[in-house]
Symmetry: D2
Subunit: 384 residues, 4 copies
Amino acid sequence: MDLRNFVDVNSRRKALEAHLNIDLSNMGTYSLDTEQASTKNCENMIGIVQVPLGIAGPIAIRNPQSAIRNYYIPLATTEGALVASVSRGCKAVTESGGVTVFSKKIGITRAPVFRVQNISEGNNVINWLEKNFSQIAEIAKSSSEHLTLLAIKPWLLGRSLYVRFSFDTQDAMGMNMATIAASVIAEFIEKETKIHCVAVSGNMCVDKKPNYLNFIEGRGYNILAECLISEKIITSVLKTEKAKILEVSERKLHQASILSGTIGSNAHIANVLSAIFLATGQDIAHVSECSMGVTTVEDDKEGLYISVYLPDLVVGTVGGGTSLATQKEALRIMGLDAQKEKGTGQKLAEIIGAAVLAGEISLLASLAENSLTKAHKKLGRGIK
Amino acid sequence: MDLRNFVDVNSRRKALEAHLNIDLSNMGTYSLDTEQASTKNCENMIGIVQVPLGIAGPIAIRNPQSAIRNYYIPLATTEGALVASVSRGCKAVTESGGVTVFSKKIGITRAPVFRVQNISEGNNVINWLEKNFSQIAEIAKSSSEHLTLLAIKPWLLGRSLYVRFSFDTQDAMGMNMATIAASVIAEFIEKETKIHCVAVSGNMCVDKKPNYLNFIEGRGYNILAECLISEKIITSVLKTEKAKILEVSERKLHQASILSGTIGSNAHIANVLSAIFLATGQDIAHVSECSMGVTTVEDDKEGLYISVYLPDLVVGTVGGGTSLATQKEALRIMGLDAQKEKGTGQKLAEIIGAAVLAGEISLLASLAENSLTKAHKKLGRGIK
Amino acid sequence: MDLRNFVDVNSRRKALEAHLNIDLSNMGTYSLDTEQASTKNCENMIGIVQVPLGIAGPIAIRNPQSAIRNYYIPLATTEGALVASVSRGCKAVTESGGVTVFSKKIGITRAPVFRVQNISEGNNVINWLEKNFSQIAEIAKSSSEHLTLLAIKPWLLGRSLYVRFSFDTQDAMGMNMATIAASVIAEFIEKETKIHCVAVSGNMCVDKKPNYLNFIEGRGYNILAECLISEKIITSVLKTEKAKILEVSERKLHQASILSGTIGSNAHIANVLSAIFLATGQDIAHVSECSMGVTTVEDDKEGLYISVYLPDLVVGTVGGGTSLATQKEALRIMGLDAQKEKGTGQKLAEIIGAAVLAGEISLLASLAENSLTKAHKKLGRGIK
Amino acid sequence: MDLRNFVDVNSRRKALEAHLNIDLSNMGTYSLDTEQASTKNCENMIGIVQVPLGIAGPIAIRNPQSAIRNYYIPLATTEGALVASVSRGCKAVTESGGVTVFSKKIGITRAPVFRVQNISEGNNVINWLEKNFSQIAEIAKSSSEHLTLLAIKPWLLGRSLYVRFSFDTQDAMGMNMATIAASVIAEFIEKETKIHCVAVSGNMCVDKKPNYLNFIEGRGYNILAECLISEKIITSVLKTEKAKILEVSERKLHQASILSGTIGSNAHIANVLSAIFLATGQDIAHVSECSMGVTTVEDDKEGLYISVYLPDLVVGTVGGGTSLATQKEALRIMGLDAQKEKGTGQKLAEIIGAAVLAGEISLLASLAENSLTKAHKKLGRGIK
């Protein structure tokens, strides 16, 4: 049966139901605009998947440019205990004065790979790229007015020349725009230098794989978040002791991350991050790279200092899944409306950083206080 | 506003709407069982997120135990072009005789960390663990009849003793069961050996982080899939040439993966994998580790040999998000009903392996044939 | 000029001197047996390189099988301050009661790569290997009576089948023996299974490259060493304070190792290890993998607990460079004479572990107390 | 026995001989200047280690700035077959027209770690560093006229601020100079910004550990070398076939390097590199990082294209072990005399790149043609 033959979502779903003799009626229950979704987000669409959405928070967040503000965090998840755990973390950090977040736009990257005859030709092209930056930037801009070329970084390996372009794509995550811009630039490079573009994506991008290049150089937004949690709140909200959290941090975060060859070092960044990604229409395949992050915990005379570092946070508030009805609502919960103001992409990145920090401190505290007998009776899903 | 104060999903959502002065009505449109979802999957639930679901395939799959069979692949995604691309790959492999898949159950792992006084005590406990394997296995079984202890692997690093337990959890992904079992075992170890369990999850599990330990030793299911694609199909379906795909493979997969410090080497495994995860109720935070994989492409006198290796595929067909209405329907599309037969978890892993392979060959072909002028006019989202 | 035309070392060196019009007389000053060296260790030999040898210690070492004993440590190095720094560390650990070392023989590994037609054939060969372990072990033994097959670990990736053999080679490092054994076994596998051996070394060995496989599974010897250093000795010998060493450890060892994507986490294991390797005739190319190690430092109510973990220590006391005159003398300084007793290879590994620990604590203390004004006046080479 | 009590090398050695009742007379046979060696290179010196030195080559090398020229390569090694294997590679590449080498000075790096109160303070210091680059460069210069500050790269992780300084140290490897400069700069930063320097080496240097940061950003010299080897020479000199080398390259270099989590991808770079390091007085502990490299092999209509990439080659021709008598002679064999001309450090790096390439092609050919029956009869040490 060729699923492309059907004119709309419903007829396609019904045909599949008949063909497989199964019931897909829940998939047919939705409110989103199928015209939009089936043309922009998903081919051969037959319906939707419903994922439970919970709310954590409020969490108090400040950044250097703004006063402190409270946010509710939408988390789409099927794993019990996550929302409760993040909520507890939000309470702990908020009562400690809030999370301070710093963000830097690194830009989305795309790196075509070219074939050169030899290293000499490769070096010549690298020099040419440097000299023609402004013309290349103009060509990039011609592909979309929403996109600006930020940087070009080349790598030469034998006959393979990789050129990593970084773009500012305003509030869009921008992978699609970046690919179009990279392909136009690659065409220009081919014409001017006579080298051949083997693939517009040469895996030095690096898109959707865990890798050290992005971890070290950054991609999307680079986030640093921190909070100083008082001893009182460690006792009253987190129900444990400072020394216990520090020991968990030393043995679980530091030593085991090294021993297991983990990229980064954290408790469960992927959990919180992927739940917000799903709620807000981000590309969840990016969890593969965005989940690389480092959590640090330090003793402080006033309590515990905790920080989170996310060097590769690829998100946006325009385009892709963010245009869908429920995802747009999730963004509104955090006051993010790309139509109304600029910079909502960066704000989303900052909120994710703060929410991830709340998730980290909550899980570290749970592990620290783990009462094993209680645990096996009603553990739920709190431990990752 | 304390969101825990509300008795049900609707009143909580409405309170949030009023509090923030926004409309969340799309989140309120769903058919799932909120009683079940709000108690088992998601605290502080206010509604659902709707994610478009498309169908790729059919794809012909064979494994050593079964005859060849066709499957439709449900893909929940918001990224245009993915379903179309996977569908093209399904056509190419199916017309080439199908994908052959081999799977091995490694088991889900959980690794508590204990504190020992010194290496000597650590070694004594390691010996004790070896001698008491069968008693530990019994204790594990007592925590759940669906769980069986498969292996114990210890690591000692100074005063930190990590004990990685692998469990067979039947058709469940089993992380929750494994945590409960590990906590019961840890309690037994504490009682018998007098060492202290610092955390029931010591990050040698390794759960939800990209890491070399899982990549090398495996976790969940270990999948190998392969297909021999004829020259004719390369031309007719994939619209490109063998030599071009081989060159993309060499420069993009091999050289750039090494140069960028990527774990694994592939085109876009994360894309296909995360779309099936989302459709079928898997824990999408696992994309962080499950997306580690290797794609190999080899010249063959009859065409192209392509294989995919997924050593860390953590999936299930029972529990977690798989119990939700639409996710259950997605599993049914692939004929997977854990209530009716055993082994559906492993079958799901095999189907994912085959679908990932279809996605790899399709994208490699697109990149190989990339006509740049066409690309920037109507690229969509086909390149990752 | 063809250097192979000369009958001996001196005539070859003199010919080169004449040809290049340079003086190489220092290279001609030596006492080693050129007949032996030029046939077994080095082709086209023209003389020797003289490397300064210093002595650190004594250092008190105990292992579970033996009483405590003092050792002098020979260090061949050209980097000033290293011997002095290790000596200070030896003093600190010896006055603290000595270093306790535990070692495990993992065995030397060699992994041929075979080509299979498909995964099915690969799996059949893997099953065949398992069933024929004892026959394969016999064949290995037939290649050398000093060698015993310990384990076989296969990996299948598409059409590439890697078979990692681990061997006990008694007190020899054994890479050569292992390669011969692997080639004989590969020949047997080819004959019996009809698959083709593409290369006797397929890089899953992994020989002489930094890699996570060896770091996680071990190679050669696996060493754990520890010491509890009292507060008094931290003050009197190491001239610093506990808290300062702990802070250096946290920021330098833990956080920076994660942030930089370092395999392992340590201060300067490579320094001490390579100096002993050079002194005792080890293969210094192995520094590439053997330098992967982890140093942990923990607060203790009685002082500082420090441990070192070396999972991939490839050394021996028989064969290779260990037969040369000065190298043999260096081994004798540590009481290691393979002709007189068995187990000297493992003892050497243990002594290296202890010496590395002494080097770690000494450098961490230097960094902790770094008086910058003094440093730039007479720093020498103490900081790595 | 306190070894520091002795006035000279001989009396110290004799005391040790008497104390341990062993003979160390070979260690006492040397021609180097003990006054110099025992004060600058090695404390508690008792003599020397003699390492056999062989000569490979000649090898024809060209770089973009110079005409082609032949070099003999000094290799200090105790591993039989290495010199012979490199010699064969030299012959193959020389008869193919020589190796073309490109080099770039990245500079030696040293990265102190500072403690900041919070991220805000860290960011302020980062801004301050940027604004004060020229003053910092002057301070660096004041520590040594041979040193020039090239770049400053900061990383902030919670309360840890790492500042990676890159220096041009002319023809010296320069680690010592860089440390002194970094300590003077750190003192200036402490004074001006009031933050505390925790350690002058904070492991983001990264010195003497295998790590992705250096692999990606480079350290010392960045080398690219290439050669096109004709089919005729593959047959006549390398005694094998193009297709066989390509298959070894695919399965051993590409697939296994990915599968084993190796940094880089090569046959035995560490072997050749460490033998030249030892011959020429380099710091052999640097093998831990310098051995990270990538070898690529490509089919070409005229034969085989092979390239080598060494992004982290830390070498020099002034200072450290390069001042010793035999090491100086080894440098002279390659025409390198830092007293006579500038740029010999970079030339040494280029020669190493070319020699490493010769070693790679020779071993790949040996593996490709491996006749197993012959191998186990007289294998020597040719396979790494």
